[in-house]
Assembly symmetry: C2
Homo-oligomer: 106 residues x 2
DNA sequence: TCATTACGAAACCATTTGGTTGCAAATGTA
DNA sequence: TACATTTGCAACCAAATGGTTTCGTAATGA
């Protein structure tokens, strides 16, 4: 099983859960109330996100509050930075072509 | 089948392909040469990315050059913005708690 | 004309995914 | 103590995923 933040973001339900937990920690029941799927289905999503260290749990009596480990999202940003860096290479290559065309003219 | 940019990014091979195509368009064979999997496996990844409109093809004789539709990546950035906005709400709530504590002291 | 090359499509397979229902354990409450 | 609530875990299922091999077809070049 692949377990990284990209995998966590791949499912729309998980993305919605992440946006909710970004505001404040919640219990599985409270999260499940917001969706049309079963509590257990939500629990599975929570498990996936826990496995990629996006979530931390805090037991309070019989309730478990899930907190978002927001820093993990930086991995996405890091990749996006890498992506933009590659894009800039494209333009560098274009520049080279233009320079070569210029030299041919001479 | 879910077909969005998040899905496209979920697989590490696809992420690597995207980074390559960000620099310049490539043919399926040229892409496959960079990986240990079969050309057909790469073709499947290309298909997934095409279906979520991340790729555009340009036929040149018997070769097909796949170009990256880099703008599509903005959907990821858009979601990340939304995420950060939610995170900021968390601090607004914290501020409220502090204000309430202050008022209780009086 | 004919072999080669580049590619997509199809069939197949094991594994993963996203969902379900049922159950047991732990905790809080009457 | 008895009962209700919150939760995780296991079993199960259909569909999707990521890979393979095989085949068909269109363009290239000798």
């Amino acid at each position: 099983m692949r377990r990284d933040v990209f995998q966590a973001l791949a499912d729309p339900t998980r993305r919605a859960i992440i946006l909710m937990l970004a505001v404040s920690a919640m219990t599985p029941n409270a999260i499940a109330d917001q969706f049309d799927i079963s509590r257990q289905a939500v629990s599975k999503h929570i498990k996936v996100m826990s496995e990629c260290e996006l979530l931390a749990q805090e037991q309070k009596g019989r309730e478990i509050y899930y907190h978002l480990h927001a820093d993990k999202m930086k991995e996405i940003e890091k990749w996006l930075e890498q992506f933009k860096q590659q894009i800039s290479k494209r333009f560098e290559q274009l520049d080279e072509v233009l320079i070569q065309l210029k030299q041919k003219k001479k």
